[in-house]
């Protein structure tokens, strides 16, 4: 059946309004001059009123970075980035620090409202008296253009000895913890983007869960890039001390921009004996328009160290945004019996490119890892799963199970799987399963015959395909993620 002109019109309308979070907020910024040199590193450090040791660390990183080259092995391509043509610091103008949400810039709150962040609407988050205990709570550390402007629920967390604050604040208030763990999982020499982050990171979150404490709420940070030409260099550090538990949520949306924006974050997790960290991400940064113009470059280093016995780190990610994603959340399974998990949904549409996966490094005895990766490619997008499972000689009884499934929509996209397996212990058991499927015309017609539109049918089928991963997300994120899956694939069929 030939496409009706109305249908074409409809598809166009849907596609054009697709990125509904494409707006910007006008806030006067305190912006560093363009360019990158030691003075800029010093400028950032001074702005943050940092101690000497941290400035030294940044400078060491910067000097190493100058000797490094951008990695070329990922299956992504993009024009060279001019690192001198960007601002490395932008902060909303500082009045006296906001003591409550009422003091937060109303423009900012409006932006959050548009994004549907329940910062203002939910009494509980605003810390309105008497609202505690009504429903499961989320504490939000709102990062807006590199600087944390509002942190809720601090008091309640403090009672339990939990530290949840901006990393710049942690540098001031808990310097010993920061000094001990910063760079202990991702060293300043690690890789091009991570090293750059060490030199110029502006802010991010810091979490410390003391011994035996089970964090009673999901800790959540919403990132949002807001300043043109401002690369974002977030730095997150989460430490779960012996026997503790924490679930951390990270979610992002970004306003529409023509110029590509670099995002090179670093996330470090440390789990001690019997500790568990669950880290969930829903990433929905501007992917560029349907022609592939604009969009965020998301070059992130995320790594967790299971330092203690019986510790566990679980990564769950739903990646729908960004023009290019380069991301391998990994686990170093050092402690005996430690467990690493990686659950991933990556959706690429139009001209998006993603090279993502994980690394599971088995060092301790009886360490176990599970990898479930669901990749969905539509339009002219290219996607690669790249994963490493490495069993070191001492990792007696190590086990890994990997499952990589790819779903293709249309015939102009691509899915690639590149698993690396290195085993140096004979007792290790490693399993790898991989499948590739297409959404069939039969499935689409079946859904449409039942009254479900083509777009909704794709969303339904893809959500079914991703179910194993989506169910790993905390409740608050699961619904949002399901919607995102639908939005990301709008206009991908027909």
């Amino acid at each position: 059946m030939a496409a009706q002109p109305e249908t074409v019109e409809q598809v166009r309308a849907v596609t054009e309004q697709k990125y509904k979070y494409g707006f910007t907020t006008d806030i006067e910024s305190d912006v560093a001059p363009k360019g990158l040199n030691e003075d800029i590193v010093r400028f950032i450090s001074a702005k943050k009123e940092e101690p000497e040791w941290l400035l030294d660390w940044r400078l060491k990183a910067f000097r190493v970075w100058q000797t490094m080259e951008e990695p070329q092995w990922a299956a992504v391509s993009f024009p060279p980035i001019d690192y001198q043509d960007a601002h490395y610091y932008a902060a909303p103008k500082k009045k006296a620090g906001p003591k409550s949400l009422d003091e937060v810039d109303p423009e900012l709150l409006k932006t959050y409202e548009k994004l549907g962040i329940p910062l203002r609407e939910q009494e509980i988050l605003a810390g309105v008296e008497g609202s505690e205990g009504k429903s499961p709570a989320i504490a939000v550390d709102a990062v807006f253009d590199s600087v944390s402007v509002a942190t809720t629920f601090k008091a309640k967390l403090e009672e339990m000895g939990i530290i949840f604050c901006a990393i710049s604040e942690a540098v001031q208030k808990h310097p010993d913890l920061v000094k001990k763990y910063l760079g202990s999982v991702v060293p300043y020499t690690d890789n091009y983007y991570a090293t750059l982050n060490c030199a110029v990171f502006t802010d991010g979150s810091f979490v410390y869960i003391p011994k035996g404490v089970r964090c009673p709420m999901e800790l959540s940070t919403y990132f949002r890039i807001n300043q043109a030409n401002t690369g974002q260099f977030e730095r997150t550090l989460i430490i779960a001390d012996e026997g503790s538990y924490v679930s951390y949520l990270e979610g992002c949306t970004a306003p529409q921009r023509d110029e590509n924006q670099l995002h090179a974050a670093v996330v470090e997790l440390v789990a001690m004996d019997d500790a568990t960290i669950k880290y969930s991400t829903v990433q929905n940064w501007y992917p560029g328009n349907a022609e592939g113009v604009g969009g965020i470059y998301n070059f992130v280093t995320k790594r967790g160290a299971c330092r203690g016995r019986n510790s566990k780190i679980s990564w769950t990610q739903v990646e729908t945004g960004s023009a290019i994603t380069w991301k391998y959340p990994s686990c170093i399974l050092q402690g005996d019996n430690s467990v690493g998990e990686f659950y991933s949904v990556a959706i690429t549409n139009n001209f998006q490119q993603a090279d993502t996966g994980t690394k599971m490094i088995h060092i301790g005895k009886n360490t176990r890892s599970t990898i479930v990766s669901k990749g969905i490619s539509a339009g002219k997008a290219q996607q690669t799963y790249r994963g490493l499972v490495k069993i070191l000689p001492r990792a007696e009884g190590a086990r890994n199970h990997t499952q990589c499934d790819s779903l293709l929509i249309g015939d102009k996209c691509g899915a690639h799987t590149v698993p690396y397996i290195e085993s140096r212990n004979r007792s290790a058991r490693i399993e790898h399963e991989a499948t590739t499927a297409k959404i069939s015309e039969d499935q689409l017609f079946y859904c449409r015959q039942r009254g479900i539109s083509e777009e909704d049918a794709v969303s339904l089928i893809v959500n079914g395909f991703c179910k194993e991963v989506l169910k790993e997300l905390p409740m608050e994120f699961a619904v949002e993620a399901q919607k995102l899956v639908g939005i990301s694939l709008e206009g991908s069929v027909g």
Binding site: M1, T7, S440, E441, D442, Q443, F445, Y446, C447, R448, Q449, R450, G451, I452, S453, E454, D456, L460, I461, N463, G464, F465, C466, K467, E468
Partner: protein
Amino acid sequence: MIEIKNLHATVDGKEILKGVDLTIRPGEVHAIMGPNGAGKSTMSYVLAGRDGYEVTEGSVTYYGKDLLAMEPEERAAEGVFLAFQYPVEIPGVGNTTFLKTAINAIRKHRGEKELDAMQFLKLIRAKTKALGMSDEMLKRAVNVGFSGGEKKRNETLQMAVLEPKFAILDETDSGLDIDALKIVAEGVNALRSPDRSMLVITHYQRLLDYIIPDYVHVLAAGRIVKSGGKELALELEKNGYRDFGASEAA
């Protein structure tokens, strides 16, 4: 009322339907019988609006509207239901989710309020009970790992929930043993009503022992070549389709 007039349709450039005329009034059950390759399944797909089935001539008027101008989902929303010969598997999508999405899409199209989770649950429980089905099937992914009988019962359940005005049953008996066939037929019979028409497409007469049609038509080589009452089916069973210019083995 559904009026099919001089319907011609091609698949991959080959003409399969060569001028079908058929009028179905509300509440009537019509059976289409015919040899393999006569165009039976093509007819069901053309009516449901599947891509790749191109109408080259003729018209289908559906309660005063031009059915052929509608997208498949619009036809569904207007009350056209196709029970598939081979129901499609959708891994990971729960039967309940699928049904809820479908009924709410249809309600939305009709300008009705969407059902919330509780209302839907109540509805689907009533329907499964009426059909003598277990809730267990609802929890599974759509048609995944279902036996032939379960798939057809699932189609019946969908029909019961979506309450179509015009149901097309495409070779509902295929892949069913006699017990499964009886159960499915009972379900279909329970859905017969004065304002619901049905078009039962089948190769064999045995289905019509259980779903008794008002009219039987013989489709051969893309045309309806003979029409009659339910006794025509018995005649066909006895003499085969040879009289209608098609070889039995086709």
